[in-house]
């Protein structure tokens, strides 16, 4: 075990997969010599060479489209979009092909690629560098949409994503790339894609969240416990799509009160689907309306305002208090 930031843990996952499977190839803008603008691929070109860690021209559709061809040939490309806000340049390749080739060929071909992209706010970045639009990908049949929430699960999920036979969109929260360290085992570790995880036990309400929002949500839960004697059950989705609704619908049946926390704009966002599943599967147990604590339906503000846009622990806590009639 070594204490690692999420960026280091992701680097470890890539390093080990590169070492043990020669089908794995990294590609993207500045992933090679520069080691990635967030240093997630730092040092990998030195160890594995230009053949395995490929600096590409500046063209996202090119990167995604080329990765599709590589995957069809039998490689396991892990491509990077420098920021998720520039993955739209590749959206047609992802929707028109990555998500469909298995179906189009009725199983003859597959696209085992991973498309990594930093997402979300909180690092004082420029316009287009702080978006959280996982819903676009979650709504696209044929894709998997994975968002880890910390160093250890990031490493394990990235390994699983690389080994997954289907295309995985892998969003990495910039805000936690180096926010804190966690013990990450040197030996191989994987986590199943498509499974959510309970990360805190409680009986008063259920909080459903993922990615960078896990920390403020947990912080709020701890404060509620300390100050208000409210105990929250907290579910970390880890995979946004295909959505594993088993844990949170079960939890809702216990608590009767649910809150969803995400950074993405509220309307037509991931929270809506979580609410829909709750209505479909736990309706008769719900005591109060499900609450959404989310980004707003506006262009993600520039960094001088982002702290008021991104849900924070106080906002989560206040929403919980209100839900429990203590607001």
């Amino acid at each position: 075990m070594a204490k690692m930031t999420m960026a280091q843990a992701l680097n470890l996952a890539l390093q080990q997969e590169l070492a043990q499977d020669d089908r794995v190839v990294l590609l993207g803008e500045d992933v090679g010599v520069d080691g990635g603008v967030f240093r997630v691929t730092d040092g990998l070109i030195d160890r594995f060479g230009e053949e395995r860690v490929v600096d590409t021209p500046l063209a996202e559709s090119g990167i995604a489209g080329m990765s599709i061809g590589m995957a069809v040939y039998g490689l396991r490309p892990v491509c990077e979009m420098q920021f998720s806000g520039f993955s739209y340049q590749a959206f047609h390749q992802i929707e028109n092909h990555a998500a469909r080739l298995r179906w189009r060929s009725q199983g003859r071909l597959s696209v085992p690629m991973v498309l990594r992209a930093p997402y979300g706010g909180g690092v004082r970045a420029l316009e287009h560098h702080s978006e959280s639009r996982e819903a676009y990908y979650a709504h696209t049949p044929g894709l998997k949409m994975v968002i880890p929430s910390g160093p250890r699960n990031a490493r394990a999920l990235l390994v699983s994503a690389i080994r997954d036979p289907d295309p995985v969109i892998f969003f990495e929260a910039k805000a936690i790339y180096r926010a804190y360290r966690e013990d990450v085992p040197e030996e191989e570790e994987t986590l199943p894609i498509g499974q959510s995880r309970k990360i805190r036990e409680g009986q008063d309400l259920t909080m459903v969240t993922y990615g960078a929002m896990v920390r403020p949500t947990l912080a709020a839960a701890e404060e509620l416990s300390r100050k208000d004697g409210i105990e929250a059950d907290v579910i970390d989705l880890l995979t946004v799509a295909p959505l594993d609704d088993s844990l949170f619908t079960a939890s809702a049946r216990q608590t009767g009160r649910v809150m969803v926390v995400h950074e993405a704009p509220r309307s037509f966002g991931p929270g809506a689907e979580i609410m829909a599943r709750l209505v479909e599967k736990s309706f008769y147990y719900l005591e109060v309306p499900i609450a959404r604590v989310t980004g707003y339906d506006v262009v993600t503000p520039l960094f001088s305002r982002e702290q008021h846009y991104i849900p924070h622990a106080d906002r989560v806590r206040e929403a919980a208090r209100q839900m429990l009639g203590e607001g």
């Binding site: 489209g65 080329m66 590589m70 189009r104 295909p242």
Partner: protein, 368 residues
């Protein structure tokens, strides 16, 4: 230090070997075996006749919309003939004859044009990608495939097909640039058939040729008479050899003509003249190849009739077979297959929903 001309060294040439009258330029005539020449002739005839039959089926409502290939047989066959079987072909959507040459069954084509996903399961071709409908998007896959082949130290090349219209898409540009930067073994085979639905080549781009677009990428480009199978074969072979030798990609522009509708949903009289079409009929790729082969004594009137007959019989058998196959097909529940390698729980639940609906409807039908 003053104003200087920049010397652009990439060579852009134009090539024609067999003219519209079937006269061959002996100096340029490629060396091809008699068998290959005859096989290609047969494949072109099959392409044309199959096209006609598909049109008839479509008019009778027995298949859906499809894109005919008539007029483009030389471009397609001359190009794929230069490939090895284990090379990759990455088609757009108007390469039926070439796909068939590469092993796709006629049945698969018929089923595909009738909205059956099962088309992909009938004699699935190994190293031919499925048809790609989004214009221009498939070229990048060829770059990835070519890159991967080289990475694997396998001497396979990838040939990707696209139209004149496709050259306007951003993906054309990204694919050409990536291929050149990585020196990937890719042949960019443009069938410039003068039209992208109703948009003429002249409104698609202002460049004099499509071949010269190669200059932007530091890549060799060549324009060939796309109705001249010898020229197409020669240029494609040269490009394939270059790619296989590790000397990177080539852009080949085949100047040809779409003699039919864009798809069966299209009415070309809205945008082009009969005269234009007539002019191109005189340049028919099959006609001139037939003349050439006759002069070479490889074909006789009788042999031609025999080929026509065999081709029609082959098509008829495929139509019958496809229509039989379709009778056994149609489980709506298979739409849930192949979305993922393993079906997620939420999808399995949706499948159950549809299964219940179908069972209830069946029961109602049986009861009612």
């Amino acid at each position: 230090m003053p104003r200087k001309k920049i010397n652009i060294t990439e060579k852009i040439e134009t090539l024609s070997i067999l003219d519209a009258k079937g006269v061959v330029d002996k100096k340029l005539e490629p060396s091809m075996s008699d068998q290959l020449l005859l096989d290609l002739y047969r494949a072109m005839v099959l392409g044309r006749r199959f096209d006609e039959r598909l049109l008839a089926l479509q008019r009778q409502g027995r298949i859906g919309t499809f894109p005919p290939i008539a007029g483009q047989e030389a471009s397609q066959m001359g190009a794929v003939a230069a490939l090895r079987e284990d090379d990759w072909m990455v088609p757009a959507f108007r390469e039926t004859a070439a796909e068939v040459w590469r092993g796709r069954s006629l049945e698969s084509v018929i089923l595909g044009n009738n909205g059956c996903a099962e088309a992909a399961t009938i004699d699935p071709p190994g190293t031919t990608m499925p048809v790609s409908v989004p214009v221009g998007s498939q070229m990048l896959h060829a770059v990835g495939i070519g890159w991967a082949a080289r990475y694997r130290k396998e001497d396979k090349v990838a040939m990707t097909f696209f139209g004149d219209g496709a050259t306007s898409e951003g993906d054309f540009h990204e694919a050409m640039n990536f291929a050149a930067v990585f020196q990937a073994p890719v042949i960019f085979l443009c069938q410039n058939n003068h039209w992208a639905i109703s948009i003429p080549r002249s409104k698609q781009t202002r460049s004099r040729t499509i071949a010269q677009k190669a200059v932007a990428y530091g890549m060799p480009g060549i324009q060939v008479d796309g109705n001249d199978i010898l020229a197409v074969y020669s240029a494609a072979t040269e490009a394939v050899e270059r790619a296989r030798a590790g000397r990177g990609p080539t852009l080949v522009e085949c100047v040809t003509y779409r003699m039919q509708v864009h798809t069966t949903a299209d009415d070309p009289r809205r945008y082009r003249s009969d005269e234009e079409l007539e002019g191109w009929k005189a340049k028919d790729p099959i006609q001139r190849f037939e003349t050439y082969l006759q002069r070479k004594k490889l074909l006789t009137k009788k042999k031609i009739a025999g080929i026509e007959e065999a081709v029609l019989a082959q098509i008829q058998a495929a139509v019958d077979n496809a229509e039989d196959l379709m009778k056994t097909m149609g489980d709506p529940l298979d739409m849930f297959d192949h979305a993922y390698a393993e079906m997620p729980a939420s999808l399995a639940a949706q499948r159950e929903e549809l299964a219940a609906e179908l069972a209830a409807a069946g029961k109602e039908g049986a009861d009612g």
